[in-house]
Assembly symmetry: C2
DNA sequence: CATAGTAGTTTCTTATTGGTAAGTGGTAAC
DNA sequence: GTTACCACTTACCAATAAGAAACTACTATG
């Protein structure tokens, strides 16, 4: 009882494409910190965020990881990096317009996480 | 220019909760295969899916990984496992009702992946 | 001239992930 | 009685991810 697409092909024929698209997403956004960093920067678009500030406010991240993840996000045009010639040199990180396109992903993950926590608490009560 | 919540607290005060919720999600759904498996099973709710079928149709997954990931998904009540006393024993895997709550997550990831691929192709053309 | 702050990098080490390949135990066909 | 299929499991190994701590280089303050 396979569903049929508009063009007459079986829906299954497209499933691998869906899975491939998801793998593409996970290649770029996967790992322990990338989505956390993107969400953090999305929440702070109205603030000036530099390296130390992120390291202090994202719980548990090390300088090495932050540096590495920011580089990769920058390479994928999701985050911008701007060096400012201030007295002690500062570097401002911000989410790009393209980076904002990831918002629906972090949004669903935040919602699911909250939902899941409730489910767990409920399960413990019983 | 921090935004103010209904209760008068700064929006930032809630950000770490958001990040924690996301971490909860990533703990349960993170890794190379879990979301792929959930998406696969969501796409095949109308079919009977057993172990070998999944291994054949999810490109690149090994028996070890599939076994391990299915166990973890089962422990989190996202996937059901039903042994059938057929001639050669078969085991049917299916997504649970709770597992279906992950659909918005995989949906946004599929969409973003397709979007991203277009962006990459566009970038290469130029 | 010691301390502290910015922005990382480097080194070393451990933990986790993931892959290959072989093995187990059962049924059934040829 | 050998091959094949199902559903895994186990052992072994390599690669990657991740963390801790120290270090570089520069500026500024006391």
């Amino acid at each position: 009882m396979a569903k049929i697409n508009d063009n007459g092909t079986l829906r299954e024929a497209n499933c691998s494409e869906e899975l491939m698209a998801m793998r593409d997403s996970l290649d770029v956004l996967g790992g322990k910190w990338k989505l956390i960093i993107l969400r953090f920067l999305t929440n702070r678009t109205h603030q000036v965020i530099n390296f130390k500030k992120m390291q202090r406010e994202i719980d548990g991240i090390s300088a090495k990881m932050l540096s590495k993840e920011l580089k990769e996000l920058e390479n994928n045009l999701l985050v911008s990096r701007t060096t400012q010639q201030t007295k002690p040199i500062t570097v401002v990180y911000a989410i790009t317009e393209y980076g904002k396109s990831v918002l629906p992903v972090t949004e669903t993950l935040v919602n699911w996480g909250l939902h899941h926590r409730e489910k767990i608490i409920e399960a413990i009560k019983k």
